[in-house]
Subunit: 633 residues, 2 copies
C-alpha cells in the first residue's frame, strides 16, 4: 500500500504531498499497532482522529510513519490557534476559516503557512487525539496498552515506548538557502529573521532577534568603554559617567526591545494568539478525580501536595546548592590568600600568572556546579508534578534564575561590597570574561566546526539518489535540540556582568560584543546542522526572560551606586573636600532613589508598542467590530 | 399620540414599558425636531436608528422624551459588551444572543439585566446613532444644525443645546429598599454590594466595596496603634513594630483587594468585557483628515500638536501650581515662627491653642488650592484635546494625583526629612486628621442631612398621584453626580497619611476608621438622595487607583525607614551603644532594600485572583472551546 492517505475533499487535493513530520516507532512494534496508529492519524476529528495524512514509509512493517496535513486541517487549526495573516487589503488580520477567500494566498497553503507553523499544527493535532472510550492498543500487551477514556493517545504511545521519537523534517533546499543567508562569510551584519521565523518558528526567531538587537545595543557601551579605557578613565567623571550610562542603558534597551518584539510579533502574526485550556503534561500523574474545570474523571494531584513538595523538597535542595556556592566562595578566598602569600614570599615574574589561578579554578567550580544544578532543577520540577506545561516552565525558570544569579554574581557582590576591594573585582571580572570567552570559542566554535565537518562528510554519503527513508533516518539520528534555555541564561549572565559591574572594567562591553558576534554565528550553525529540527510553538515574545533582564536592570542601580561611592576617585574627592562618609552615603542613596525613579519614568514614557503596531491593532479590532455589526444587521 | 413606540417583534412584547432614561429638551425646541429625534430613537439599526422605544411625555410639544429598550436590543447589546451572565448549569458564561435559551432567566429581561446595565445600554445605543450622510436637523437653523456624515447625532444635539440633559431614572421602590438596606441605623457592618451594583452599576459598587474593605483593613492598625498609644509606645520596639507593620500592611491590603475585586467582577459578570474601538469624545475637534484606523474622513488633531500643548502648556501650569504649594509652605513656616515667637514672649495657657493656628491656616490654604487646581486640571486636559475618553481620563488623573501627592505630603516630607522635627510632624499630622475630620462632619454629614430633610419635604409634595412627568422633572432638577474622583482622592490622601507617616502618630488609623465609618454612610446618602442618578459603564476594577495606591505603598518604605532612623528612641539607642550615624544609615538602607524586596515577593506570591476565580475562568474558556469544537464538527 505504501502511499499517502487519499484526500477526501476537493480543496485539499494536490499533486504531491510534502512529508512534514516523522514518527519513528520502536523496532519490535507489530504491524497491527502501526496500522492502528495510521488509522488514528487519518480518521476524521468526529471519529476521534487527527485529520492528517499518513504514509507508512518503506513498507507496512517498517519502523517509520510519515505525516503530512491536508489544507482544510491546516487552515482550521490556524484559525483555532489565532494566527494572524495578511488580508487582501494588505493589513494583518486574525485568520478566519469562513473568510479565507479574502486572505492573501490562502489557497496556496505552501505559501500561506510557514513550514514551522505546519509542523507545529501536525504535532498539535496528533496531541489532541484522545481515546474515545476505554480501549486497548492492538498489538501491545494489555498491561501496557490500556487506554483510559479521553487519554491522549500519542503521549501514551511515547510513554510506553511504542513511539521512539517524533520530529519535524528539514527541507534541504530551504535549509541550505537559509544557512547561506544566515551564517555564511558574506554576511557581516543582521539576521534573516523572517526566514528564520518561517523555517524554525517563533522561539528561535525571537532568540536570534533579541541577540541581534542586543549586539547592536552593545555598540554604544563598547565605544564609551574603549574611550574611557584609552583615556585616563580613572578620573571621577569618567567613572560616574560610565556607571550612570550603564544604569539607564539597560532600561532603554529593554524598553526598545519590547517595542521591537511587539513589532516582530505583529509581522509574524502571533500577537493575537488565542489561549486555550491546557491539557495535562505527559508526565503528570495522580489518582483519578474530577477535574474542577472540565468535570471529567482524570488523574488529579492535589495542589497542597505539590506545595508540600515545593516547600519541603525543592526549596531545601535549592538552598543547599546555594550553600555550595558559598562554600566555593570560601574555598576561593582561602586559595587566593595562599597563592598571594606564596607570591609575596617566593614571587617572580614567572609566578605572577599564578595569581589568576584561584579565580580560574573557581570559575570552573562555578560552571560545573551550574551544570549539575541545572539537571537537579529539571528533576525537581518534574518531581513537583505540575499539571500544565506553563506552570512547569515557570517553576523551572525561577529555580535556574535564582541559582544563576547567586552562582555568577555572589562572589562579585561579596568582593565589591563586603571586601570593598575594587582592584580584585576588576581582576576577577576580566578573568571571568576572558575565560568564558575562551571556553566559548572551544565549546561553541571548535566543537561544532569539527562535528559539522564530520557530519558534512556523512551527509555527502547520503545523496539525492539514496532512498528517502535513509535520508530521514539520518535526521532522526541527530541529537535532540536542547532548547534555548541555556542560551538565554548565558545572555542573562552577560547582561549582569555588564549592567552590574562593568563600571570597574570598561572593556566589558567590547569583550561581550566580540563574544556575541561569534556566538550568533555558531548558534546558527548549531541549530541548522547539529541538532534535530525542533517543533516550535507560536509565541508572542521572549516571555519570562524580559522580566528577568528587567530585574537585573533594577539591581544594577543599587550595584552601580555603591561602586561609585567605593571607587578610589570618589573616595579621594571626599577626603580632599572634607565630606564625611555619612554625607557621601546620603548623597548616594538620594542618587539611587532618583535613578530608580528615572528608570521607572523612562519605562513608563516609552510606549511598549510602537505607534504603528497600535494603529494596526486598532484597525484589526475595528475591522472585526465592523464584521460583527454587518453580521448582526 | 402620547404612547410608547409599538414593538415589532413578538419576543419584545410586554404588558408595560418601564421608562429607563429621560431626554430633557431645551424649551424652545420645535415639535419637528422632537419628532425627528424620536424617529432616530425608534428606527431600526439598519436605518441608522437606536432600536429603542420612545415616549413623547405629556404631549408632542413637551420638553421631554422618555426612552426604554425592547428585549432584543438589550440582549444584543449585552452580547456586544461582553457581559457574563449565569448559565443554566449555574456557572457564569459570556452572554451569547444565539445561545440565550441556555442562560438563566434570559426571557425575563427585568431580572436578567440590572437596572444600571439597561440604562447604560440605552445611553450606549443612543450614542452610537450616527448621521448616515450629510444632513441637517429639522427645526434647527442650518448654521447650527448641519450634520457631517457619520457624526454622532446625540452628541451633536447636546453640543448645540437642543438636548439639555439626559439622565437615567430612579425606580422609587427599589431605591427605597436599597437605601433602607444600605445606610439605615439597623446596619452596623457591611454593604449591600450586589444591590448597589444592580442599581447604581459597577463604578459605584466598586468604590463602596473598596471603602468597605478598606474600613475592615483599618481595624488591625487601629488596634495596634491604640495599644501602642496607651502603653509607653515611644519605646524603640513599638516604634519599629508600627513602622514595619505599616509597610507590609499596605502591600497585603492592596493584594487582597485585587483578589476581592476580581471575585466581585466575576460575580457581576464584568471580568470579560470586550474592548471596542472607541469613538472620539464629544468635545474632540480638529481639521478633517483620514483616520488611520478606520480610513474615514473625520476631525483629526495631530498628536504632535497635542504633545506640544502638554509640554508647553499643561506641564508649566502644573509646575507653577506646585510652586504655589512651596510658597504656601514657606508662608506656613514664617507664620509658625511668628506665632511661637509670640507665644514664647507673651505666652499663657490661653495663647497655647494659637500654636495650632499656622497649621490650620495652611490646611485651609492647601484645600482651597487643591480645589482651584482640580478645576484647572480639568480645563487643561480638555484643552489638550484627547481623542478618546480613556486617554483623557488618564491624563487628568495623573495631573490630579501628582498635585495631590505634592500638596498633601510635601510639607510633611519637609518637616520629617529636612527639618527632622518629629514632634512638629506629629502635631501637624494630628491637626490634619482632626481638622479634616471636622470638615468632613460639616460638609459631608451636616449639609447632606439638612438637604435631605428639605428634599424629603419636597418629595412628599410629589406623591404617587402627581403626574409622572412632574416626578421625573423633580429628578432632573437635582444636581449632576460629581463622580467618584474626589472620593478616591480623599482615600488616596488618607492612605498616604497612614502608610507614610502614621508611625509617629499611632492614633492615625483609629481616627481614619471613625472618619470612614461615617463617610461610607454619608456617601451612600448622597448618591441615593442628593444627586441625579449617574450612568454607569460596566467596569472590571477600580482601575488606575489600584496603581496609585501601590505607588504610595512603595514610597511608604522609604518614608518609614527614615522615620525609624530619625526617631528619638533609635537615635538614643545609637548614642548609647556608640553606633556611628554612618553605620546606622547603612543598616537602615539595607533594611529598606530588604523590605522593598519583601513587599515585591509578597505581591508576587499572593495570586491576583483567588483560585475559585481562576477555576471559573478556566471553566469558561474550556466551555467556549467545547462550543467551538462542536460547531466545527
Amino acid at each position: 500500500m505504501s502511499s499517502w492517505t487519499p484526500v477526501t475533499c476537493r480543496c485539499c487535493d494536490s499533486a504531491t504531498v510534502q512529508p512534514l513530520v516523522v514518527i519513528e516507532l520502536a523496532e519490535n512494534v507489530q504491524p497491527a499497532t502501526k496500522q492502528w496508529i495510521i488509522s488514528k492519524i487519518e480518521s476524521h476529528a468526529k471519529d476521534g482522529g487527527a485529520q492528517l495524512l499518513a504514509h507508512p514509509g518503506e513498507d507496512d512493517d517498517g519502523d517509520m510513519i510519515l505525516v503530512s496535513a491536508p489544507r482544510c486541517t491546516l487552515l482550521q487549526a490556524a484559525e483555532y490557534l489565532g494566527l494572524a495573516k495578511r488580508y487582501n487589503d494588505g493589513s494583518m488580520m486574525i485568520f478566519s476559516y469562513k473568510d479565507r477567500a479574502n486572505f492573501m494566498s490562502a489557497d496556496d497553503v505552501e505559501e500561506f503557512l510557514t513550514l514551522a507553523e505546519k509542523q507545529y499544527i501536525v504535532k498539535y493535532e496528533l496531541n489532541s487525539v484522545k481515546a474515545p472510550q476505554a480501549d486497548s492498543i492492538p498489538g501491545v500487551p494489555v498491561k501496557k496498552g490500556t487506554l483510559r477514556p479521553r487519554q491522549t493517545i500519542f503521549q501514551k504511545l511515547e510513554k510506553i515506548g511504542v513511539i521512539k521519537q517524533m520530529y519535524p523534517l528539514h527541507e534541504k533546499q530551504k535549509l541550505d538557502a537559509l544557512a547561506k543567508a544566515w551564517y555564511s562569510n558574506s554576511r557581516y551584519w543582521g539576521q534573516p529573521l523572517d526566514s528564520i521565523q518561517s523555517y524554525f518558528g517563533g522561539p528561535v526567531a525571537f532568540y536570534f532577534s533579541f541577540l541581534d538587537f542586543y549586539i547592536l545595543c552593545l555598540l554604544p557601551p563598547a565605544v564609551i568603554g574603549l574611550v574611557l579605557f584609552l583615556l585616563p578613565w580613572e578620573s571621577m567623571n569618567g567613572y560616574i559617567l560610565l556607571a550612570v550610562f550603564n544604569m539607564l542603558w539597560s532600561t532603554v534597551v529593554l524598553e526598545y526591545w519590547k517595542r521591537r518584539g511587539s513589532g516582530l510579533a505583529h509581522r509574524w502574526g502571533t500577537l493575537y494568539l488565542t489561549t486555550h485550556f491546557s491539557e495535562p503534561r505527559p508526565s503528570y500523574w495522580g489518582t483519578l478525580g474530577h477535574n474542577p474545570v472540565t468535570g471529567r474523571l482524570e488523574p488529579y494531584y492535589p495542589s497542597w501536595r505539590r506545595k508540600l513538595r515545593i516547600w519541603l523538597g525543592s526549596v531545601p535542595v535549592v538552598c543547599s546548592f546555594l550553600l555550595l556556592v558559598v562554600a566555593g566562595m570560601v574555598g576561593f578566598y582561602k586559595f587566593e590568600a595562599l597563592v598571594s602569600d606564596f607570591h609575596r614570599k617566593h614571587g617572580s615574574v614567572l609566578t605572577s600568572p599564578l595569581l589568576y589561578l584561584p579565580s580560574i579554578t573557581h570559575i570552573f567550580y562555578v560552571n560545573v556546579l551550574g551544570m549539575i544544578y541545572r539537571t537537579v532543577a529539571l528533576m525537581l520540577t518534574e518531581w513537583e508534578n505540575h499539571r500544565v506545561e506553563s506552570s512547569f516552565q515557570n517553576h523551572h525558570t525561577v529555580k535556574v534564575l535564582v541559582f544563576s544569579f547567586f552562582n555568577c554574581f555572589a562572589v562579585l557582590f561579596h568582593i565589591a561590597f563586603f571586601r570593598q576591594d575594587l582592584q580584585l573585582l576588576r581582576k576577577r571580572l576580566a578573568s571571568l570574561l576572558i575565560v568564558s570567552q575562551i571556553l566559548n570559542q572551544c565549546t561553541e566554535v571548535l566543537v561544532p566546526y569539527v562535528t559539522d565537518k564530520l557530519f558534512a562528510g556523512q551527509g555527502k554519503k547520503l545523496s539525492e539518489d539514496d532512498p528517502l527513508v535513509d535520508r530521514l533516518r539520518a535526521q532522526g539520528s541527530l541529537p535532540a535540540f536542547p532548547g534555548l534555555f541555556g542560551e538565554y541564561i548565558e545572555l542573562f549572565v552577560q547582561f549582569g556582568y555588564l549592567s552590574l559591574f562593568s563600571c570597574v572594567y570598561p572593556l566589558t562591553a567590547i569583550l561581550l560584543l566580540l563574544n556575541n558576534i561569534t556566538e550568533i554565528r555558531t548558534d546558527a550553525l548549531k541549530i541548522c546542522r547539529l541538532f534535530r529540527k525542533p517543533f516550535a510553538e507560536p509565541v508572542t515574545s521572549i516571555g519570562v526572560w524580559q522580566g528577568a533582564f528587567e530585574v537585573l536592570g533594577f539591581v544594577s542601580v543599587i550595584s552601580n551606586c555603591c561602586l561609585i561611592l567605593l571607587s578610589t576617585p570618589v573616595q579621594g574627592y571626599c577626603q580632599e573636600s572634607g565630606i564625611s562618609m555619612g554625607k557621601a552615603l546620603l548623597v548616594t542613596i538620594f542618587l539611587e532613589h532618583c535613578l530608580i525613579a528615572l528608570k521607572m519614568i523612562i519605562a513608563f514614557v516609552i510606549p511598549d508598542e510602537p505607534s504603528w503596531v497600535r494603529t494596526e491593532k486598532a484597525k484589526m479590532e475595528y475591522n472585526s467590530l465592523q464584521a460583527l455589526t454587518h453580521q448582526t444587521l
